[in-house]
């Protein structure tokens, strides 16, 4: 593979969290290298606390790595140019409670530099797509978890990103919505969008990912194409993580 096609590239990245006195508390990411190529759906899997969100935040420039190098579109993640082609759905939906769904999308459209008319059109389109057209004028503070998730997803897409970063996209969604989100991600990928997603739900990952990496305690324990695993992702996962660590499996077997 050609280097220039790497949308995201991490080389021996480490992240150690420190307390107020700068004493190390957790090594959340430990010598991680990975690359996400143009047009693929890349899944970062692993149990809770394995460092998935931390990795994502370093890719987004929200956290700086303690060691190693992170590149986003070949640029340092804090470059404005890199952020121009980015959409991000955080772990939980953090919305401005005073804004309506429509205003939320218009706000993020503006931050992406969309002109007023375009922002308006894009907002209507996206609210339609995530099924919130009816409640577009209601403050998001009163939305249910699932509705808030949809608003967040729509605002991640508002700037027509080339790279969509999803942190646990299906968490908190009912089975029907989960299926819708998966369908949506597949459709976006089919249109050429690069997707980086994390999940602790293997069934979800198996459905949408082209390639996965399994993290445990901040280290990569396995990496591969889903189509080439030869076994179900769950068996693969258990084989890799089950012997690599002593963590409790119950939470993500379900």
């Amino acid at each position: 593979m050609n280097d220039s096609e790497d949308i995201v590239r991490l080389e021996s990245v480490e992240k150690t969290f420190r307390d107020f006195w700068l004493r190390p508390t957790v090594k959340a990411v430990d010598g991680l290298s990975l690359s996400v190529r143009k047009g693929e759906v890349f899944g970062l899997l692993g149990p809770n606390g394995s460092g998935k969100s931390t990795t994502i935040k370093m890719i987004l420039g929200l956290l700086s790595p303690s060691a190693g190098d992170v590149r986003l579109f070949g640029l340092p993640p804090r470059a404005i140019e890199a952020r121009r082609k980015l959409g991000y759905l955080p772990e939980l939906s953090y919305l401005h409670p005073f804004l309506t769904a429509k205003e939320t999308l218009r706000y993020y459209a503006g931050l992406c530099g969309l002109k007023s008319a375009e922002a308006k059109e894009r907002t209507t389109q996206l609210l339609e797509m995530v099924g919130l057209a009816d409640v577009a004028g209601r403050p998001v503070g009163g939305f249910s978890k699932g509705m808030a998730r949809r608003v967040s997803l729509a605002s991640a897409l508002v700037g027509r990103p080339e790279l969509l970063v999803l942190d646990e996209p299906t968490s908190g969604l009912d089975p029907v919505s989960t299926k819708e989100v998966k369908t949506l991600v597949k459709a976006l990928a089919a249109n050429g969008m690069t997707v980086l997603t994390t999940s602790h739900l293997l069934a979800d990952a198996e459905d949408i990912c082209d390639r996965v990496m399994i993290l445990d305690h901040g280290k990569s324990v396995a990496e591969g194409r889903v189509s080439e695993l030869g076994t179900s992702l769950e068996d693969f996962f258990l084989a890799k993580v089950g012997d690599a660590s002593e963590f409790r499996l119950a939470p993500f077997l379900g």
């Binding site: 987004l60 121009r84 991000y88 005073f98 205003e103 530099g113």
Partner: protein, 429 residues
């Protein structure tokens, strides 16, 4: 720029929808209309108006200053704590513009509430009719060497003087100079009976031509003895008679009295002849003001407004910067402490003008206080309301400088710093 506009808009929307803005407006306006019943003047209509202008607008401004400072420390810090800030941070907007937009939005909110107060002020009870048309005056001070120069000139003689205390002679030169400088400000000039003294004024040559020229004299000497004062003031062809027994401050209008020929005063100097029975002591730097007519109260109010808004801007920018760098509670604490220190340090320094007779701990405290006073002086020393209340002109030149510095330059610099700190401040993500 769209990003800037959006962050600005979001801040305004949240101020409006959280009812913060309306509560601020209600509190400030309510204070304005309550002030006349709380602050009482000296019984005269002018005194009442002066008190009112000072305390009504001053109170409303204080409410705004403290609330906006508090809101500013929260504008980034609370967004960060609620984890919403990261959604803005990953968008293609310059982080400095984010900080600047928040500063601008909060400042604009404060400015509009303050504007409302200024517009309503003429209608408040106690202000009196026609206040907007009142004339204000430029206040000219006698042209004297600066206290620092005077201190330098006095230094050698003072150190050679056998009466100078030994402790002072052992002190560092800079300390002694500061001591002398503080004294120079309060330097008394003695005017014996039938003596005439002349003070020069920078632009008195043209001032002498002005209609409505007046001289204001303060008679509070060291011992606070009210004297029987009689004398005559002259500048160019104008003159005025001073006759005072009870008042601490008198304003003497100067007029052209053609009949009284003879000694015309110097064109650029104000002379005072003591015609009383006893010698008179005055501090020319503090006690003598030449009042030259300027424009109206309305214009003065507009300039005072600009200065006040500039102070709000600098406070807000500082709060936003603190919120970018620190967590909310710490940022709020630092902001309030800075405000208090800025307010009280000048008076602390005034009461402890030199560190000759104090302990090491006191000295350290004084050095810190002096530093704090120095840093906060550009803002803390602004007294637009005092000037406005006493019909003294808020000088346009000064207003321009304040706006450039406090409204533009410092907030820009603080926003730049906030923009640099923002992505590096990582806990709580």
């Amino acid at each position: 720029m769209i990003g800037f506009a959006k962050v600005f808009w979001l801040e305004i929307v949240s101020l409006v929808r959280s009812k913060t803005l309306v509560m601020l407006a209600v509190a400030s306006v309510a204070w304005m209309f309550a002030a006349p019943f709380i602050a009482k003047g000296d019984g005269t209509a002018d005194g009442a108006r002066e008190m009112f202008v000072r305390y009504s607008l001053g109170g409303a401004f204080a409410i705004l200053l403290v609330s906006l400072l508090a809101a500013a420390t929260g504008s980034l810090a609370r967004e960060r704590a609620a984890k919403r800030l990261q959604l803005t941070m990953v968008r293609p907007v310059n982080h400095m513009l984010v900080a600047l937009a928040k500063t601008a939005a909060l400042t604009l909110s404060g400015a509009s509430v303050l504007a409302l107060c200024c517009i309503l002020m003429p209608f408040a009870p106690g202000v009196g009719d026609g206040v907007l048309g009142r004339q204000c005056s430029h206040v000219l001070k006698p042209r004297l060497p600066s206290p620092r120069d005077e201190a330098r000139d006095m230094y050698d003689a003072y150190m050679a003087d056998p009466e100078t205390p030994a402790a002072v002679k052992k002190a560092k030169k800079s300390v002694v100079l500061r001591l002398l400088e503080n004294r120079a400000v309060d330097h008394y000039q003695t005017i014996a009976t039938n003596d005439t003294v002349t003070w020069r004024f920078a632009s008195a040559g043209t001032a002498a031509e002005a209609k409505g020229l007046a001289v204001r004299i303060r008679f509070t000497n060291q011992f606070d003895v009210r004297q029987d004062v009689r004398g005559e003031l002259r500048i160019g062809p104008l003159s005025g008679v001073v006759s005072n027994i009870t008042k601490a401050v008198v304003t003497v209008p100067l007029s052209r009295r053609a009949a009284e020929a003879g000694v015309a005063g110097a064109a650029d100097g104000l002379s005072f002849s003591n015609k009383g029975s006893s010698a008179l002591m005055l501090r020319p730097r503090k006690d003598i003001d030449l009042l030259v007519p300027a424009d109206s109260f309305a214009w003065n109010l507009a300039r005072a407004y600009l200065e006040l808004v500039s102070i709000l801007a600098i406070a807000v920018a500082f709060g936003v910067f603190l919120g970018a760098s620190l967590g909310r509670p710490v940022a709020l604490f630092v902001a309030i402490v800075t405000l208090v220190v800025g307010e009280i340090s000048p008076s602390v320094i005034e009461q402890y003008p030199d560190e000759l007779e104090t302990s090491v701990a006191d000295r350290i405290g004084l050095v810190l206080t002096r530093f704090a006073a120095e840093v906060t002086r550009p803002v803390a020393a602004l007294q637009p309301l005092g000037r406005l209340a006493s019909d003294e002109c808020v000088e346009p030149g000064e207003t321009a400088r304040v706006v450039l510095l406090d409204f533009v330059a410092v907030p820009l610099a603080l926003a730049l710093l906030a923009g640099l700190v923002l992505p590096r401040k990582q806990d709580g993500l």
